[in-house]
Amino acid sequence: MRNPRTGWLLLSPTLIILLLFGFAPFLYVLFVGFNQWNVFSADDGLVFNGLDNFRRLVFDDDFLHSVGLTARFAIFAIGSEVVLGFVLAQMLTRNFPGKSLFRIIHTLPLMVAPIAVGAIWRLLVIPGFGPVPFFLDRWFDLKYQIGSYPDQALWTSVIMDVWHWTPFVTLTMLAGLSAIPKEPVEQARVDGANRFQVFWYVTLPFLRPVLLTTVFIRIMDAIRTVDEVWMLAGGGPGTRFTGIYIWRVVFPRTDYGYGSSISLITLYLTIVLCWLLFIAISGRRKGEVE
């Protein structure tokens, strides 16, 4: 009754679009990644140089630094988003007057364009203009200037990301929490489990797939963040994440070959990381079926 050919036919428009606009550019990047190609160099053609680009990036301090920064950014931002998102979702499972109004307000940042998020936060933090440096200086005598202090720039981007993306985590967690059946929780209560035990042994296992999926999506998007951080700090110190580093190599320096090889490595690392999470998610599902 279910002919695989029909299945492929249904899948084909998606596959064609993704092959054309996703996979073909990937092949091109893969090809360029093994070449030296800088439009403004003396020899502006493509020169095959094997693995030279990859040898170069292993010793490229700027690149390694950018990977470290991206990792710190992703870990701190996603970590806080998951904790905050869970707490907020938990607060939203109760009923109280005005709940949906609070929820709608909380969802708003998710809808702001990344480029506008960057602009908003830049308005908040530029010296001599934004309220944040002004009040920090006045109340806490703290010198806050993201252009000069890399750590402050990193933390500002983390806080900005948390502001922007926590609502997404809250919504997925809320969906996950409301799909948990009531009986096991009540049963555990009757059996004398305390709040923490109920959370740890009942809620969390039920929530695990949603949690992992959310983390997966956030990791994927956090690693390729460019526009909002660029708008915030203009690629200043402390915010040179991998995405932005690639941007700087490819555009101002027009070093396409090297830029492509960095992209490939970044893409590879993202895929490996996500593959592990994917196995964790789908492995769990298979376990449920058996």
């Binding site: 996979f23 708003l108 940042p109 908003i120 203009f129 949603v210 994927m220 893409l267």
Partner: protein, 284 residues
């Protein structure tokens, strides 16, 4: 179980305290943007003042009467709406195929679809630029600077997300319902129309909304693959920063105007967003 009045009052107090605090934190940056959008260039500098001193709407009228802004806005509406509709249809078909048919390498295809969203955009812009300006052409017509180009390109990051979201939803619909409909004589379209679409409606709605928002908000591709005709609103936003030494008031006004359509959609569709975002991970 009875809870005393005192306990209940305390609980309400904590709940509202928590939510009022959250609301302030959430709204403060947006409020500041609103305040900035209501000020003239001169008023902006000096001591930062978080209160709204007066309604100065010139920034808004300047932006709204600008024909460039109007064109960007139209483009954004057309591109994100068509993209969202296209993504909903294609994702529904693809997910149905992945969920119901025994296709070879099904899990690998599914994962490959998602990897399309992971590509760091900067390096991929170059091949896309070449494709848009040279590869796809009919006479003088190229994909560069066209709405259709952006509509198709946005599928690259929206389709994987949509398929993933719908996968759980459609997997959660018992296959027996399909079979029953088929026995009653429904064909593939009948099953899709009368069984899958009604049952997956919240999931489909959420897919559409989020695709719309992602497309509406996209910046890097739009900035580099369009020049005049098909520019979108986010590109316009960034232009304010680079061209004339940043007119913050107008930039803020424009950001507010960009936020309004997505905010309206989200407010209208609140209910579906929570119902549809389960990623189908929790099943009975």
């Amino acid at each position: 179980m009875t809870i005393s009045f005192r306990q209940r009052a305390w609980r309400l107090f904590v709940t509202y305290g928590f939510w009022i605090f959250t609301t302030i934190v959430t709204l403060l940056p947006i409020w500041w943007m609103f305040v900035v959008s209501m000020r003239s260039r001169v008023e902006l500098f000096g001591r930062p003042n978080l209160s709204l001193s007066r309604f100065f709407v010139e920034n808004y009228t300047n932006v709204l009467t600008d024909s460039t802004f109007q064109r960007y806005m139209t483009n954004s509406v057309v591109v994100s709406t068509s993209n969202a509709l296209l993504v909903m249809v294609l994702a529904l078909l693809a997910t149905y195929a992945l969920s119901r048919y025994k296709l070879t390498g099904r899990d690998n295809i599914f994962f490959w679809l998602i990897t399309n969203r992971m590509a760091p955009p900067a390096a991929f812009l170059l091949p896309l630029y070449i494709m848009f300006t040279r590869t796809f052409r009919l006479g003088d017509w190229t994909l560069y600077d066209t709405q259709i180009g952006l509509i198709l390109l946005y599928c690259v990051f929206n389709l994987p997300f949509a398929i993933w979201l719908l996968k759980g939803v459609i997997d959660g619909i018992p296959i027996e319902l399909d079979d029953a409909a088929m026995i009653d004589g429904a064909g593939l379209w009948g099953v899709l129309r009368h069984v899958i679409v009604p049952l997956a409606a919240p999931g489909l709605a959420v897919t559409g909304i989020l695709s719309w928002v992602f497309a509406w908000n996209e910046y890097l591709f739009a900035a580099n693959l369009t020049s005049v005709q098909a520019r979108t609103i986010t590109t316009g936003l960034a232009e304010f920063v680079t061209v004339t030494g940043t007119n913050w008031g107008e930039l803020a006004a424009m950001s507010m105007l960009t936020l309004i359509p997505s905010a309206i959609i989200v407010i209208l569709a609140q209910r579906y967003i929570v119902m549809g975002l389960t990623f189908g991970a929790v099943k009975e």
